[in-house]
């Protein structure tokens, strides 16, 4: 980007699982993934390359490196035996990019209505929200860094818009 106050780069393909279940199932899934159990709304827990993003009381988005997919599914199915749950592979439903830099939240706030101040949207906070007319999942991974998940057919729209906003922010009178 022109004035280097925010960088956008695509993230590599990943294993993405939509996981739903009650609290006990969530705990069992966290144990199977090697993640700490957490029921805090709109917060992500992550260890190594694995992360669990709270998207609803019973819904998590599980992220892991691409090559861990088979292993992940196996250990989850084993750990979840006896727990009512839903596990659906959505690895290719969406793609992800990272937005980094002091202007990252300004770029997002052009079309995302949330309060992205650090006090209001701290590191590790995550949520399903919108960017203009597209649904996104937003996860703050550092003070000046966001992980953005977007459905693949909406990605052109979101990225084109982000570039337009970046151009406009770098224009000086």
């Amino acid at each position: 980007m022109a004035d280097a106050t925010a960088w956008l780069h695509p993230l590599p393909g990943a294993t993405r699982l939509s996981f739903c279940g009650d609290e006990a199932a969530q705990d069992a899934a966290a144990a199977a993934l090697g993640l700490p159990s957490s029921a805090m709304p709109c917060r992500a827990v992550s260890v190594g390359g694995r992360a669990s993003l709270w998207l609803g009381p019973e819904e998590r988005l599980l992220l892991a490196p691409l090559n861990e997919r088979a292993q992940l599914l196996a250990s989850l199915e084993a750990g979840l035996a006896g727990h009512a749950h839903s596990l659906v592979d959505i690895s290719q439903r969406q793609l992800a990019f990272e937005l980094r830099g002091p202007n990252a939240s300004l770029l997002l706030n052009a079309q995302c209505p949330l309060d992205l101040a650090l006090e209001a949207f701290p590191v590790d906070m995550c949520t399903r929200t919108v960017y203009a007319k597209s649904e996104i999942v937003l996860w703050r991974t550092a003070a000046d860094r966001f992980h953005v998940e977007v459905w693949r057919s909406f990605s052109d729209y979101v990225l084109t818009l982000l570039h337009a906003v970046a151009r406009e922010l770098s224009a000086r009178p």
């Binding site: 739903c20 279940g21 224009a171 009178p173």
Partner: protein
């Protein structure tokens, strides 16, 4: 050559001259000028023609309340903005501005003939004059009124500028950066709150910019402003937004702000947007929007040169411009004296202060006496003269007892009036805050609030700089405290002998009973006090009715200068108190907002997301013609050589029926329904019985709304005991998932079931035709493709080209068919592999148009084309799909209503023209007898119609009353060229036994 520029003073930059033009004539101004101040500096007072009477008009004000000086500023044909207030347009080198509402020129406006015809154009003239003859309204009156009326012209070209938008949150939003607003922002910011301070002017400071003599905290106002704004600008928790108008107050403290970014630049950088819309969610709002001076109502009060006293003061003190050489000041408040004193010092001869109050205040009189300015007490104005600029004013004297005597005629080229100040309560009122009437001051102030907001300073009727600073500080502290930020601040100290801004004379007394002609209340809408009295005489008493009848307070101005004067006249005329008359609603926007900034990024290619499938580029490279389906781009047909759509579709259909077709079905919605409660959930949602569906099998599902009408349909496969793969229509994917989630979460929370959209997880490649199995067999591993192992409506997992495969044996074409589901990343590779493998079998890619023809030949409906939201399953022959033994499903109860079973319902049938040659029109009506004349008895309509390459003649589907009982009958489709005789048939035209499907 700026004859009217004072030798010194003002905040303009005298070292930076700026060339601009107005109505084609070149002028020179200074950096810091508005178009209004620059024109005044050149002695130009005539800036526009009035809306109704085309009367010559000049500047009334110096701010955003300006009702007269509406101009068009054009950079080029596409960049032309009408109705800009000259008082707000900042000049830049090369600016080209034009006056409005005149032809052929501003000085000789032929439209002003309507000024002579004024008696024909009283209030409500639209309703009265043009009633007869009736036909003349559309042909004659309306086109001419529309041509004559209107404010400015919309640009012709597409807007080439960019418009930005931003969402922002803050603890305290302060609107208005005058004394009160700056004090509020400073106090709130010091408490630690996140503060946004916005102001509509280019420079922050508000009314303080007009008060160079004021001393605050021991320094002059300019130094105080510089220090205060500079300090705010350094604080990380403060955002300063000059040139930003808060135009709308929406529920829950959401405010709309329009920031003007590039209109003031002579050469804006290409990527800089013209404006930015801020949608601010504020925890607390401080409205420091100030007050607007009220005009006085007297005959001829609209001549160029008649101006608000505060405006004359602003032009002199802020812009260094004298509004004339000889002024008469009409005082309805002491503020007029302050203006007179400043003007006299600034080199304008003040002939007299004509005070319309019987007893002017002592300090004001003393000040005038000291300055040697003559004061005429108990004055009124009987008339003014001058064609394009005021030449003189005829005063009257109000004798004890109220009779009016003729007074002297004073020559002048500026008549400055002050009728007191009206607090700007627009935003408070927009937020549904209550208003309180103050009889003593005769204005409304903000009362009980509905939102978390407070007004400060002049906006809530306080008088004077000291009070504004004190009140602003307290408001800022209180707003911050309400957000949990405790702080303290000392209000800035003011040492000055200010004159009060109080006063509210409104309409000046006139001899006789009737209201005088051409005593204007609303400059922008050309409403006079006589119009208001006429409205009252004709029986209007509510101010809301009077507003609509006379148009006072309408249009871009929204009554900023006229509102209280109109109220006062109506209250006086009907002998009621002002609160009894009521107050019209303040509507958003505060000042006009461009459509561009509201549209923002939603334009052109980015108007909506354009969704493309994984195989889109392949189709595009093969020359596919695409159509929009929802947000998706779908390949409609693949023309070869010089083929038109008809030829391409016919070829594609023949290939599917005769060999094999390849179709991208990725856009179909897909929802995975998973959990131990999945079967029960599906039983409650869809009409079908899912308990009897074995894993590995699929079924055509029908989804109703609770009213019993078809909402969506699609193939549903049971992948495991507790897992369903539900497909929906392309356009219905989102709403079906929403409907399901609504019932899952709100109605049936006890069910252990969850829903996940998998639409985009899978690329779906439909391979359809008698050779389909042969085409895919070499590529598929792990699935027995034989008819015995994988029957029609089955599903199996395996691999294809090494990719995980979910393979459906389904058909929407009526031929042997498979739908290959692979992860989206594998879509193109698998598609290409299938295409290559199919070459020897004559495989042909086909699009949605051929798909439509093929399904219509089979009588398969498309929800939303053959159904219209009033169609039950039985109406379209799908009663077989309903699980009869189920205790309940969505819509079941509605299907039992008598009307749903009554005879006469429209039913799906096929129609063939009797001569087998006529292609019917979709949407055409169906009647039982030929030769009818309107109104005909309609018994049905055509829903789908295609040329069928398979049958060799056109076919149609239609919804016809009692249609199934009419099979074999001849009906008629009336068309402009005559009735088309049609034969009613079964909707299934091809392979009624399903031999091909099950092959």
């Amino acid at each position: 050559m700026m004859a009217w520029r004072a030798a010194h003073g003002g905040r303009v930059d005298r070292s930076r001259p700026i060339e601009f033009s107005f109505d084609g004539r070149s002028y020179r101004g200074l950096a810091g000028d508005t178009l209004a101040s620059a024109l005044l500096a050149n002695g130009v007072h005539l800036l526009g023609r009035s809306f109704k009477y085309h009367r010559p008009r000049g500047l009334l004000s110096a701010g955003s309340e300006e009702p007269n000086a509406l101009v068009t500023v054009a950079r080029d044909a596409a960049r032309s903005a009408p109705n800009l207030r000259a008082t707000q347009v900042e000049i830049y080198d090369g600016l080209r501005a034009h006056s409005q509402n005149r032809w052929p020129s501003l000085a000789w406006d032929l439209g002003s003939v309507s000024n002579w015809l004024a008696p024909l154009f009283p209030a409500g003239f639209y309703y009265k004059t043009f009633m007869w003859p009736r036909f003349a309204w559309h042909r004659w009156y309306e086109p001419r009124i529309r041509a004559a009326a209107g404010l400015g012209r919309a640009p012709v070209g597409a807007d080439p500028d960019g418009y930005a938008q931003r969402f922002a949150h803050c603890d305290v939003l302060v609107i208005g950066a005058g004394a009160a607003g700056l004090a509020a922002a400073a106090a709130a910011a010091r408490s630690g709150a996140r503060v946004i301070l916005c102001d509509e002017q280019a420079e922050m400071g508000g009314g303080l910019l007009d008060e160079p003599a004021a001393k605050i905290d021991g320094v002059n106002s300019a130094a105080w402003l510089k220090a205060t704004i500079g300090q705010l600008g350094l604080q990380a928790n403060v955002t300063l937004l000059p040139r930003t108008t808060a135009f709308g107050y929406f529920p829950h403290n959401m405010l709309g702000l329009c920031e003007r970014l590039s209109d003031h630049l002579d050469a804006p950088p290409p990527d800089l947007p013209r404006e930015r819309l801020w949608q601010v969610r504020a925890r607390e709002v401080v409205l420091a929007s100030g007050a607007i001076e009220r005009p006085l109502v007297f005959p001829g009060n609209d001549r160029p040169g008649v101006m608000l006293a505060s405006a004359a003061r602003s032009y002199l003190n802020r812009y260094g411009v004298r509004v004339g050489s000889r002024a008469v000041v009409l005082a309805g408040s002491d503020a007029a004296y302050a203006a007179a004193l400043d003007l006299q010092v600034g080199g304008v001869a003040v002939s007299a202060i004509a005070d319309v109050r019987p007893e002017p205040s002592a300090p004001a009189l003393a000040a005038a006496r000291t300055a040697g300015i003559r004061v005429i007490q108990g004055a009124t104005v009987l008339a003014t003269a001058g064609r394009l600029r005021i030449r003189n004013v005829t005063l009257g004297t109000v004798r004890p007892g109220g009779t009016i005597g003729r007074g002297e005629i004073l020559a002048c080229d500026a008549l400055l009036m002050s009728g007191g100040f009206t607090p700007s309560i627009h935003l408070h009122s927009q937020s549904r805050g209550k208003l309180l009437w103050r009889e003593a001051e005769r204005f409304f102030v903000p009362g009980a609030t509905a939102e978390r907001e407070r007004s400060a300073g002049a906006a809530r009727g306080l008088d004077g700089l000291g009070a504004a600073l004190e009140d602003g500080t307290q408001a800022g502290l209180a707003a911050a405290a309400a957000c949990g930020f405790r702080g303290s601040a000392t209000p800035p100290l003011v040492a000055t002998n200010e004159l009060s801004s109080r006063g509210a004379p409104g309409a000046l007394p006139q001899p006789g009973h009737a209201a005088p002609a051409k005593a204007f209340v609303d400059w922008q809408n050309d409403v006079t006090s006589r119009d208001l009295e006429l409205a009252m005489r004709e029986g209007f008493s509510s101010i809301e009715h009077i507003k609509r009848y006379t148009t006072t307070g309408m249009a871009t101005d929204q009554g900023k200068t006229s509102g209280l004067n109109a109220l006062g006249i109506v209250a006086h005329g009907s002998a009621r108190a002002v609160p009894e008359v009521g107050l019209t609603t303040f509507r958003m926007p505060y000042t006009p907002v461009s459509f561009g900034v509201l549209a923002g990024y939603d334009r052109g290619q980015q108007f909506d997301p354009v969704r493309r499938t994984p195989m889109h580029d392949w189709a595009s490279a093969r020359g596919a013609v695409f159509e929009d389906v929802g947000m998706w781009k779908r390949a409609r047909y693949f023309p070869q050589g010089a083929e038109d759509m008809h030829a391409a579709v016919a070829r594609e259909c023949r290939s599917v029926r005769g060999a094999c077709g390849l179709f991208d079905a990725s856009t179909l919605g897909k929802i995975e329904v998973v959990g131990p409660g999945a079967t029960e959930f599906m039983n409650r949602m869809y009409v079908n019985n899912w308990t009897s569906l074995a894993p590995g099998r699929a079924r055509y599902g029908v989804l109703l709304r609770d009213d019993g009408f078809i909402y969506d349909d699609g193939v549903v496969a049971r992948l495991a005991d507790d897992r369903y793969h539900v497909t929906t229509t392309t356009g219905g994917a989102a709403r079906v998932l929403q409907l399901m989630e609504d019932y899952r979460q709100s109605e049936w929370p006890e069910l252990k079931v969850w829903l996940t959209s998998t639409t985009e997880q899978w690329a779906v490649i439909a391979v359809q035709g008698p050779r389909a199995r042969d085409v895919i067999a070499p590529l598929v591993a792990g699935v027995d493709l034989s008819a015995g192992a994988l029957a029609h409506m089955s599903v199996a997992r395996g691999t294809i080209c090494g990719a995980p495969l979910l393979l459906f044996r389904v058909s929407f074409s009526g031929e042997l068919g498979f739908e290959i589901n692979v992860p989206a990343d594998n879509g193109t590779a698998v598609w290409e592999a299938v295409y290559a493998a199919g070459q020897s079998h004559g495989i042909t890619p086909y699009g949605t148009e051929a798909m439509h023809v093929l399904r219509a030949e089979k009588g398969f409906i498309i929800v939303g084309q053959d159904t219209d939201g009033t169609v039950t399953p039985d109406d379209v022959g799908l009663a077989w799909a309903i699980g009869k033994a189920k205790p309940d499903f969505l819509g079941k109860r509605s299907l039992a209503r008598p009307a749903m079973r009554a005879p006469g319902r429209k039913q799906l049938v096929g129609l063939l023209s009797v001569d087998r040659s006529r292609l019917l029109e979709e949407g055409a009506q169906v009647v039982a007898n030929a030769g009818q004349t309107p109104p005909m008895q309609i018994i049905g309509h055509v829903t789908s119609a295609y040329a069928s390459p398979t049958l060799g003649h056109p076919i149609a589907l239609a919804m016809v009353a009692d249609g199934r009982a009419r099979v074999g009958q001849t009906l008629f489709v009336p068309m402009p060229g005559g009735d088309i005789a049609v034969e009613v048939t079964s909707p299934v035209f091809y392979d009624r036994e399903g031999a091909h499907l099950n092959g």
